[in-house]
Symmetry: C2
Subunit: 201 residues, 2 copies
């Protein structure tokens, strides 16, 4: 089999950001494409009765330490944003709009949004800032700003999130599905790699 690796992420998730870096060399090694799918972790959390990691009394402090330590372990640039988490609807809707036109451009956009938040500390909940990023990768700035307010784009993203959470049962991020196997967490990329190497166990 040589189907794509479906990669489900929230633009506000530190581990999904790390996962976006970790999945690349693995996909390349196995000649698989990575299909990026932004969704709203908040929708999954509502059903699961979970919360952003940093909001748990003890796990919260540990998580902040672990984001940083794990980033350094993998040599991935990472600075925990002061303002966390963010609702990243603008970036996610914009992703959907760009992806209709240009699949290479949209991945470049997604990487740039992640770097803006987790390296440069920019406010990626601000549509103007996200539009600047879109413009930087060649998507039209004003067309982008119009698209993220377009009721059709809004509805399409809403439906996509529902499908991801309720049909594909994606409850966290990063979440990878490849060859029918689900892998949750940046720390499952090693197993995913081994699964593609061996064909499973």
């Amino acid at each position: 089999m040589s189907g794509p690796i479906d990669f489900y992420f929230d633009f506000s998730s530190p581990y999904a950001y790390l996962g976006s870096h970790l999945i690349e060399p693995v996909a390349k090694k196995h000649g698989r494409e990575v299909n990026w799918h932004p969704f709203m972790l908040g929708v999954a959390m509502k059903g699961e009765k979970t919360f952003p990691l940093t909001e748990y009394p003890l796990k919260g402090d540990y998580s902040r330490m672990d984001f940083d330590r794990t980033a350094r372990y993998h040599n991935i640039p990472f600075i925990m944003p002061d303002d966390f988490p963010k609702v990243t609807l603008a970036a996610s809707r914009g992703f959907l709009w760009i992806s209709k036109n240009d699949r290479a451009q949209v991945i470049e956009f997604a990487r740039a949004v992640y770097a803006a938040y987790f390296v440069e500390g920019k406010d990626i909940s601000d549509p103007e800032i996200v539009a600047d990023i879109a413009a930087g990768v060649g998507a039209g700035r004003s067309a982008f700003l119009a698209a993220i307010q377009d009721p059709e784009v809004k509805e399409a993203f809403k439906k996509s999130v529902e499908e991801i959470v309720f049909d594909r049962k994606v409850f966290g991020a990063p979440f990878f599905i490849v060859d029918g196997q689900s892998f949750w967490g940046a720390d499952r990329v090693a197993q995913l790699d081994e699964w593609l190497t061996t064909g499973g166990w």
Copy 2:
């Protein structure tokens, strides 16, 4: 430094069971002792507002799959018990009592309790079954049964759990602390190993 690896676990936690297998070769490689500390995950969950993994609507099904897949990935024998989770007070209090007399025997006891639950499917919430296991490793059966009802042992275990959760901030299992660094999860053993190899990053 050459201090021990403190290993915090709940006898009912599948990932802590897997962690108990994974930490051994790492400890051996670095010449570190493993200090086993049973505690009650339920106490941590109450403060964190978390639940046993299998009780989450979507994460629950994923977790059952992942326990199994991760066990096979590491070649660790594992059969998910039908009756899960268990309150493992008898085993934990008994552990505390045995540990006062014989540190080697208590680890043998802990391993046997884990195997009884996660390989043989025995009911490790039953004091009689746990007493059989204790007898099997050379602790006296009737002394064991008396000890787990001893108010002093009960109180000592209660205090130990509170210290583990509230002072050492252990919110999940397996949880490892070595050289002042905390590592949560069976999937952090690789980082722990690298930390001991390099002295940290």
